[in-house]
């Protein structure tokens, strides 16, 4: 293994490859910040460029773009409450409030340090445990995935509801309902389209997230413009751009990072689960670990609440390479594009890659790590400048947020029906937010809806329509018991508050 690491390092540390990773990180950050363009698009854009390169150089460029785009996505989540990809939605829960308190630079720095630490820890796991973990990923069956998704949705409802669990669960159902619009994945039967061709392909994630987060946030700021409690505070530019993290915050991060890394990596290893579930579960888990005083800060700019999802989503990104490199199964959309790129270079990932092309196997892993190091070195000095976006006056910032939201949708479909739909959903979301109906459960439910139906379908077909699949397998049963405990805990804490 040491020999492999050295081969990987010597390839990744050549002058050309370092230059490539720098270019990749920079381009990835810019692309990731644009709404609607996530790591998947960023890597896809790079594929034609890399065809003329040596395979290692091409993959190194893509690794840089990948991590750059993930960081770029976090940046728009923190600064504008506009997460362009599902994996950075949880980052906005505490990152955006922190930025609103005039600590945008600090929030971005915490995100950068956490991402780096999460990536580093998971890269070590990847080096040590990749082959054996691939067996674990294969042990998960449809009923287990279904139970895992139920757990994820219950957990996010419990943690984001601020004591109003039923409201959060209603939002989960609404998110799942929106996810069923369009063609059924197996039979191609159209559902809930009301003969409208524009809905045949379903509603896109970017549309929902832009409407419920970015656009409704912009509308809420305008709507509550006269509220004396929400009057804009004078934020100093020095404080806004400061990336200094004090000792207390460092200690908080140091506690959060190890557990979120382990959770993120393990979730990332499971095909299909990926960074989204990892970041949401890490957020929920962290809230359970901290003391009562810290718990109250969640959703209002907590360091734990920002660090946990950022660590977990990066750890999950590395984890998702386990099934790709060891089994040849892409676990997420991004790794599927990476698989396409690898095949384009004539490399077939799978159990034999480790033996037949060790230099590729190790250079991919090492280049991912170098990508993260370069990203940290490149982006930290840029944070004070990026953070100043928030110093733009409200009269300009709000129209620009609306402009980015609409452009993200227009880029994908080139029709105005989606823009009308987005405006409609944003208006409804603005009113729902006004009465404390939380949006994160809706987003997670929407993201998981398709996969949830798919796993339920498989489970029910295998068990011939019987609900036995819920308790037949120990993994499913354990996950469901945890879910039931969360539900009962919510009911118990509600009654406790009452008494």
């Amino acid at each position: 293994m040491i020999e492999g690491i050295l081969i990987g390092l010597s390839t990744a540390l050549s002058l050309t490859n370092i230059l490539m990773v720098m270019v990749g990180c920079f381009a990835g950050t810019i692309i990731g910040m644009l709404p609607g363009l996530g790591p998947m698009t960023a890597i896809a854009l790079m594929i034609p460029i890399t065809y003329g390169f040596d395979p290692s150089t091409g993959l190194i460029l893509m690794a840089g773009v990948y991590y750059g785009a993930v960081f770029g996505g976090s940046t728009s989540s923190i600064l504008l409450n506009a997460p362009g990809i599902p994996g950075t939605v949880a980052t906005a829960f505490d990152g955006y409030p922190m930025a609103q308190q005039g600590k945008a630079g600090k929030a971005l720095a915490i995100a950068a340090y956490s991402s780096f630490a999460g990536g580093t820890i998971s890269a070590i796991f990847l080096l040590v445990a990749a082959p054996s973990l691939s067996k674990v990923s294969l042990a998960f069956r449809s009923p287990d995935y279904f139970a895992l998704m139920i757990l994820g949705l219950t957990a996010i409802s419990a943690f984001s509801s601020k004591g109003q669990f039923l409201k959060a669960m209603m939002m989960v159902i609404l998110g799942l309902m929106l996810a069923t619009v369009g063609q059924d994945s197996l039979s191609d039967i159209t559902r809930f389209t009301f003969n409208n061709m524009n809905l045949t392909d379903g509603i896109s994630f970017v549309l929902i997230v832009m409407a419920t987060f970015a656009m409704s946030e912009a509308l809420t700021i305008i709507f509550r413009g006269k509220d004396p409690n929400r009057a804009a505070k004078q934020i100093s530019l020095t404080e806004l751009g400061s990336i200094k993290v004090n000792k207390e915050e460092t200690i908080k991060m140091a506690k959060t990072i190890p557990r979120s890394s382990i959770l993120g990596f393990l979730i990332g290893v499971l095909p299909g689960a990926g960074a989204t579930i990892a970041s949401f579960l890490a957020y929920g888990m962290e809230r359970n670990y901290v003391n009562e005083e810290e718990k109250q800060k969640f959703g209002k700019g907590s360091v734990h609440g920002l660090s946990a999802p950022e660590t977990a989503n990066n750890a999950a990104c590395s984890g998702s390479f386990v099934p790709l490199l060891t089994l040849g199964i892409p676990g997420s959309g991004t790794t599927a594009v990476m698989l396409g790129a690898l095949l384009g270079f004539g490399i077939q990932p799978g159990p034999r890659l480790y033996q037949t092309n060790p230099e590729i196997f190790w250079s991919v892993i090492m280049s991912m790590y170098i990508g993260m190091v370069v990203l940290l070195i490149l982006n930290l000095p840029l944070i004070p400048y990026i953070a100043r976006i928030l110093a733009v006056p409200r009269n300009y910032l709000i129209p620009l947020i609306l402009f980015f939201s609409v452009t993200g949708i227009y880029l994908m479909s080139f029709n105005n029906f989606d823009i009308f739909l987005m405006i409609g959903i944003a208006v409804v979301a603005t009113f729902l937010r006004l009465y404390d109906f939380p949006m994160p459960p809706l987003i997670l439910a929407f993201v998981l809806g398709g996969l949830m139906e798919e796993t339920l379908r498989r489970s029910l077909l295998i068990s011939d329509g019987s609900p036995n699949f819920l308790w037949d397998r120990p993994i499913t049963l354990i996950i469901l018991i945890i879910t039931i405990v969360i539900i009962f805990w919510q009911i118990f804490s509600t009654f406790r508050k009452k008494t």
């Binding site: 644009l34 363009l37 854009l45 004591g163 109003q164 039923l166 409201k167 669960m169 209603m170 159902i173 609404l174 799942l176 309902m177 069923t180 197996l186 039979s187 039967i189 559902r191 809930f192 509308l219 305008i222 709507f223 509550r224 413009g225 006269k226 509220d227 409200r394 009269n395 300009y396 709000i398 129209p399 620009l400 609306l402 402009f403 609409v406 452009t407 227009y410 880029l411 080139f414 105005n416 823009i419 009308f420 405006i423 603005t430 009113f431 729902l432 006004l434 009465y435 404390d436 109906f437 139906e453 339920l456 379908r457 029910l460 077909l461 068990s463 011939d464 329509g465 509600t494 009452k498």
Partner: protein, 156 residues
């Protein structure tokens, strides 16, 4: 009798769930799929019932935490203007193209939000959109449909 806004929203959600469930039962499935353990209707039917149960609970159970909103502090005028501008923008984007419609949308939004520095408003609309289009179309090679710019020969 005064119904709280949260309960009113829950009532609307109840109506939506009933309508969703009715539509779910009416989804046309293939004849051979009709009695299958799982078909295109199954999941939506579960969701419809879940929506009805949860919204009913919310309506029936007493509210312990009430969300109070002071409507005097809400700026209805600005938000209505902004929504109308956005709807007009969505309606004309295909006809007059991305560049002109987006630039005019930005310019109008700045104006309705109270901005009167005309020079800055212009720079942050027309040249800004042009630069953004150049970044997407020129540098990143991401196709951005604009029939108007294509017609006058600026875009290929």
């Amino acid at each position: 009798m005064r119904i709280s806004p949260t309960k009113f929203i829950s009532l609307l959600f109840f109506v939506l769930s009933v309508f969703y469930l009715y539509t779910a039962y009416n989804i046309q499935v293939f004849a051979f799929d009709e009695n299958a353990p799982f078909n295109a209707r199954t999941f939506p039917i579960y969701l419809g019932w879940a929506g009805i149960i949860l919204s009913s609970l919310k309506i029936i159970l007493p509210e312990k935490v009430t969300t109070e909103v002071n409507h005097k502090h809400l700026d209805y005028k600005s938000i209505i203007y902004l929504i109308i501008i956005s709807l007009i923008y969505a309606a004309v984007i295909l006809k007059i193209g991305y560049f002109i419609s987006t630039s005019l949308f930005l310019f109008a939004s700045y104006y309705f939000l109270g901005e009167r520095r005309w020079g800055l408003m212009f720079i942050l609309s027309f040249p800004f959109v042009a630069a953004f289009m150049y970044l997407l179309h020129g540098l990143l090679n991401i196709y951005l449909r604009d029939p108007f710019l294509k017609y006058i020969g600026v875009m290929g």
